[in-house]
């Protein structure tokens, strides 16, 4: 999944402001013509969304009812049983636990480091643009590139630092997540910096005049004003963490012993072969449910604590 799509996931969440520039002029025939034009304009997107988003999604519910043989030539209806079995299976709980850990490793780190970089680079200094470019540079790296870089850094046999983290069942997932923490720096920085720059200078000056020191001003004024942006960042980073795949595919292939670093998406990926489609579909629906739930909870809990200005 790309940066843009995931950023979009969070973008769509804020309450929709309906502004409409279409004109209430013209008679019946005019309206029909306009409707036809609209249909023609919406058709290309609609075809893609139906074929590659909605249809495969609704198909999952159906696939989940059947069990196939290895070649997919013979299928047997097993009904809701398969849902119960898969969602209570070790595969699902292990994948969920690993995905959850990945969230815990990468999201707080992204928040703290992104804020640190942004606060440091949000100054009027000569050459600050250079530092801003450096700090945002990791948005240019793909997950594959970041993973190759960390492979070379920490691989037990050929790495620059020959640590055995990737070979240690207890440390492997954390070691994998280091690559994500590094890769997320750029996006976190860019988002928090945009938030900082949107804070009106008068507000900060007023706080200084009221005798706030830099630390107190940051904690009592800047941070609350920044909270909607930080909330946006939490959602984006959480979505990223739940989608972690390439890092694991490249760095550990789910190991060191099978399952240690298998996230939900990694497990789903392994179940595309015809014989495993049924169980894989239930896992995919599980992933959908979990991300939906987590996103909703984040909005409900964090929304109360977030300061949205007026």
């Amino acid at each position: 999944m790309s940066v843009a799509d995931s950023v979009g996931t969070a973008t769509a969440a804020p309450a929709e402001v309906t502004v409409d520039a279409s004109e209430p002029v013209g008679g019946g025939r005019h309206r029909v013509k306009e409707g036809l034009l609209a249909a023609a304009f919406l058709l290309p997107s609609t075809v893609i969304f139906v074929t590659f988003f909605y249809r495969p999604f609704f198909k999952l519910f159906d696939y989940g009812l059947y069990r196939n043989n290895a070649s997919g030539t013979n299928q047997r209806y097993v009904g809701i049983t398969q849902y119960r079995q898969v969602l209570t299976s070790h595969d699902f709980t292990e994948g969920l636990a690993n995905s959850g850990k990945y969230v815990l490793f990468t999201v707080p780190a992204g928040l703290v480091l992104g804020t640190l970089l942004a606060v440091t680079a949000n100054r009027k200094l000569r050459g600050i643009k250079f530092f801003q470019t450096v700090f945002s540079s990791t948005v240019a790296t793909s997950v594959a590139v970041a993973s190759v870089i960390f492979y070379v850094l920490i691989n037990p046999q050929v790495g620059v630092f020959q640590v055995d983290w990737l070979a240690n069942p207890h440390l492997a997932l954390f070691a994998v997540s280091l690559s994500s923490m590094w890769q997320n720096l750029g996006l976190s920085f860019v988002i928090v910096l945009a938030g900082l720059q949107a804070i009106p200078e008068e507000v900060l000056e007023a706080a200084t005049l009221d005798g706030f020191g830099p630390v107190r001003r940051f904690l009592r004024v800047t941070l609350p004003l920044l909270s909607p942006v930080l909330m946006f960042l939490i959602v984006v980073l959480t979505v990223f963490a739940f989608q972690a795949f390439a890092q694991i595919d490249i760095l550990t292939q789910g190991g060191p012993t099978a399952g240690d670093t298998e996230t939900l998406v990694y497990k789903i990926f392994q179940m595309q072969s015809p014989g495993k489609i049924g169980a894989g579909s239930v896992l995919a629906l599980g992933l959908f449910g979990v991300t939906l739930f987590v996103t909703l909870v984040q909005f409900l809990i964090l929304d109360k604590r977030v300061h949205y200005g007026n």
């Binding site: 790309s2 940066v3 843009a4 997107s45 590659f52 640190l116 200094l125 795949f245």
Partner: protein, 282 residues
């Protein structure tokens, strides 16, 4: 200069020195992995390990980039990635501009519902629909093909949303004046709407390029390693097939990242605007 002013200036200099120190340290932390990777890529593997993995290159081999490019087949992979990326970016721009125009300027029944259905696709990421989409590709026989690599990404809710926001920012007077001058919808779209949202469009094109070029999960699922690799899969493959020549894989990774780094240097402002759309109001 008064003593007070001089004191103020010197304290400003010390304060700036502190800021610069912190900036340099943080820049070092961000760039350290890339630097060490570069060191490792340029060094002769065994000699580097035997030298105790120092923070500088050992027995430099400058041809490692050429070798990654030639031996690893990075050339054809880069071309394949570029073609797929351009198809995706072009497709996304066309479908998103048309859909956004309909949502902003055209009247049609159930507009809010249709908009909701479009935006809800954001809740259906590829990770969730993967199995269903792979089945679709199986029945269409689209494995190892450009249509397979690109078709699922030819429309995007994110792009539609972004471009719609841009169009909503066009002053109403311009639309009214164009209408009075007799411009129909197609002419208005081409002559006014698209030129006026060029900055938004620019940001979107860059973000879309970034996403398409960096894809991993989908090409990994529907292309066979070797025969139809994109560059991202290629560098991962290089690593897993020959871990001992990690220096070549990492040189390949740096080549794969190069086009995006060039884009970032030249268009940083536009990329940042695209990435932060939605994070900050206004």
């Amino acid at each position: 200069m008064t003593a007070a002013a001089r004191a103020g200036r010197s304290s400003k200099i010390t304060r700036n020195a502190g800021s610069y120190l912190l900036l340099v340290v943080l820049a070092g932390v961000v760039l350290f992995p890339v630097y060490m990777t570069l060191v490792r890529a340029l060094s002769t593997p065994v000699k580097y390990i035997n030298a105790g993995s120092p923070p500088y290159p050992v027995a430099v081999q400058w041809d490692v980039f050429q070798r990654a490019y030639r031996e690893a087949g990075l050339g054809p992979q880069m071309v394949r990635s570029l073609v797929a990326t351009l198809i995706i970016v072009g497709g996304q721009v066309v479908t998103s501009v048309l859909a956004a125009y309909a949502f902003v300027y055209l009247r049609f029944p159930f507009k809010r519902i249709v908009f909701g259905v479009f935006m809800a696709t954001l809740m259906l990421p590829l990770e969730v629909t993967l199995i269903g989409n792979v089945e679709t590709m199986r029945s269409l026989k689209w494995f190892d093909s450009f249509q397979g690599l690109t078709a699922p990404f030819l429309a995007t809710a994110f792009g539609t949303f972004l471009i719609r926001q841009g169009m909503l920012g066009i002053p109403r007077e311009i639309r009214d004046a164009a209408r009075l001058d007799g411009y129909g919808h197609l002419a208005f779209l081409r002559r006014f709407a698209i030129p006026l949202i060029r900055p938004v469009l620019g940001s979107f094109v860059l973000i879309s390029f970034l996403g398409a070029w960096n894809q991993y999960l989908w090409p990994r699922a529907i292309t066979d390693r070797r025969s139809f690799d994109t560059v991202q899969i290629g560098i991962a493959d290089l690593l897993s097939s020959r871990p001992e020549s990690a220096n070549i894989a990492v040189a390949g990774a740096l080549i794969a990242a190069a086009p995006i780094i060039v884009l970032l240097i030249f268009f940083q402002r536009h990329i940042v605007r695209g990435l932060t759309a939605g994070a900050v109001k206004g």
